[in-house]
């Protein structure tokens, strides 16, 4: 693969897959926080 293709692959895949992963982990964390708050208020 040529260097420009490698750079573009890293940038595009990094942005899309990295972005997806970052948003997913944030959602998982926030969901965990919400469940803890709900359990606390029920208790």
């Amino acid at each position: 693969m040529s260097p420009p293709a490698v750079v573009m692959m890293v940038l595009i895949c990094g942005f899309i897959w990295g972005g997806f992963w970052a948003f997913l982990t944030r959602a998982i964390r926030r969901e965990g926080d919400k469940q803890r708050v709900d359990q606390f208020s029920e208790g």
């Binding site: 693969m1 420009p4 573009m8 595009i12 948003f23 959602a27």
Partner: protein, 484 residues
């Protein structure tokens, strides 16, 4: 809202919406469009439009559904006023017209899945197999099967949709990942990655590349179709909007990238000499004629062909389910019970999908007419949000309690200004492109299935009918069903 008509968890909502977004377009259209539009340069434009078209519209759709708890017609009435119910009717009509032929496409995928299981494609010329199947009564029966599967899920309400999505979407992701790994490990696959990612900076000066990127984004994320709005009806009151929207937008495009890698690496590794012919063969040609040929030449090809058509079938079915739910939801808003509404949608789908099952020309005509119509749907969402007050929608719904991200004023600007401009430019370009294309002399002939004339004629009939029925539709919708 009854507990039965609500997503039980955030992940149920996210997976169902991701299932709606990830369809056959991600797997069979995206690789072709990238390959014919400058590879890496196209991807830059594609990422930009994810951020300035798809994600803002997805947020708007979530906001409409969560605020109004009504299907497309009722949501447009509640957001923009009684006079604008026809706009919601247009959104519903476009998505439903697409559903009629999409169930035929889903049927094709299921048929090829069965053929891969039974080994029917072994030793057979895929072109002969395709010719003896597409457009015949066999295609009608597979259309009926696909529709029955989708109806069977929607029959049980949002709980059925959630349960199916929780199984099919993770399986789909695993299948596509396995296929992509297999493709990149084939000898010669690096040429496919080079073709996919090599930037051609000159291509960025070509407006057609930008418009192809916008079109691809609009189609493969499902933004502006009304389907996200429909699922948002069933989200919990304290559910987040912005984080879910970006998560689904990025997740959908991550799947497209995997599909692009899978298809192009397979093509380049197995038959590099025929790459132009393969990517130029159209959606059906690439998927149902070329891919079986390529898999046949690959070690363990029968197994990977089965995984490929299984992934395609899952992608098609989860999108079809969302389209059936959209149509049924509008009927339920008019006062029908879920079962009666779903029964009507099933009957209409079977009848109106039949011409597409029996004629590829008819199917391609419907794809052309209602595919362009989706741009108008996106425009209507932006206009309705403007009527309500885009910034008010942002403050009162998008950033309301439960939001995991706070959306800034940039979103209001994108929805109020950028999206209407994008939609108008895109539609004018498409119509212009058709008017100066190969059949320029025929461009206004409404009986030519690929002309601008057929688009305008069918739109005119639909718009006149919707405007004439606007008051009746508004009365039925606002009186018929109780807000959830």
């Amino acid at each position: 809202m009854s507990a039965n008509e609500q997503f039980q968890s955030r992940w149920g909502l996210v997976l169902a919406t991701l299932g709606m977004a990830v369809g056959t377009g991600n797997i069979w259209r995206f690789p072709r469009i990238v390959a014919t539009n400058g590879g890496g340069s196209f991807l830059i434009a594609w990422v930009i439009f994810l951020l300035i078209w798809s994600v803002p519209l997805m947020i708007a759709e979530f906001a409409f559904g969560k605020r109004t708890r009504k299907g497309t017609v009722g949501a447009f009435i509640r957001i923009a006023g009684e006079g604008k119910g026809w706009m919601g009717g247009w959104v519903a009509l476009c998505a439903t017209a697409i559903m009629f032929y999409y169930s035929v496409v889903a049927g094709w995928c299921i048929r090829y899945c069965v053929a891969a299981i039974l080994g029917e494609l072994r030793g057979v010329d895929p072109e002969v197999f395709w010719e003896s199947y597409a457009g015949t009564t066999q295609a009608f029966w597979t259309h009926a099967v696909a529709l029955a599967l989708a109806i069977g899920v929607v029959w049980f309400g949002v709980r059925g949709i959630e349960r199916v999505a929780k199984v099919l979407i993770p399986t789909l992701v695993v299948l596509v990942v396995i296929l992509a790994i297999r493709a990149v490990t084939l000898p010669g696959a690096a040429a496919g990655l080079e073709f996919l990612f090599k930037p051609d900076l000159q291509a960025l000066g070509d407006f057609r590349v930008w418009l192809a990127a916008l079109t691809q984004n609009a189609w493969d994320t499902g933004a502006g179709w009304g389907l996200i709005l429909t699922y948002a009806i069933y989200m919990k009151a304290r559910e987040d909007i912005p984080l879910n929207a970006v998560l689904i937008g990025f997740g959908n495009n991550a799947m497209s990238l995997l599909a692009g890698i899978m298809v192009l690496c397979t093509v380049f590794a197995i038959n590099p000499g025929a790459r132009d012919e393969i990517v130029g063969a159209g959606n059906e040609g690439l998927t149902f004629i070329w891919m079986p040929q390529l898999f046949a030449q690959m070690p363990g090809g029968r197994f990977f062909m089965l995984l490929f058509f299984l992934a395609l079938s899952f992608a098609a079915l989860t999108s079809l389910i969302a389209m059936v739910e959209l149509a049924a939801r509008n009927l339920m808003d008019a006062g029908l019970s879920r079962r009666r509404a779903v029964g009507i949608v099933a009957t209409a789908g079977l009848i109106f999908g039949t011409p597409s099952a029996l004629s590829l020309t008819f199917l391609n005509n419907q794809d052309w007419v209602w595919g362009v119509g989706l741009m108008l749907s996106g425009l209507f969402f932006a206009l309705a949000a403007r009527s309500f007050g885009v910034d008010r929608l942002r403050r009162e719904v998008v950033n309301a309690e439960g939001a995991d991200l706070q959306v800034g004023r940039w979103w209001s600007f994108l929805v109020a200004v950028v999206i209407p401009v994008e939609a108008l430019v895109l539609m004018i370009w498409w119509l212009w492109g058709a008017s100066v294309g190969k059949e320029a002399s025929e461009w206004l002939n409404p009986f030519n299935p690929g002309s601008v004339g057929t688009v305008l004629a069918q739109w005119a009939v639909a718009l006149v009918a919707l405007l004439a029925l606007n008051k009746w539709m508004s009365r039925k919708t606002m009186k018929g069903g109780e807000s959830l």
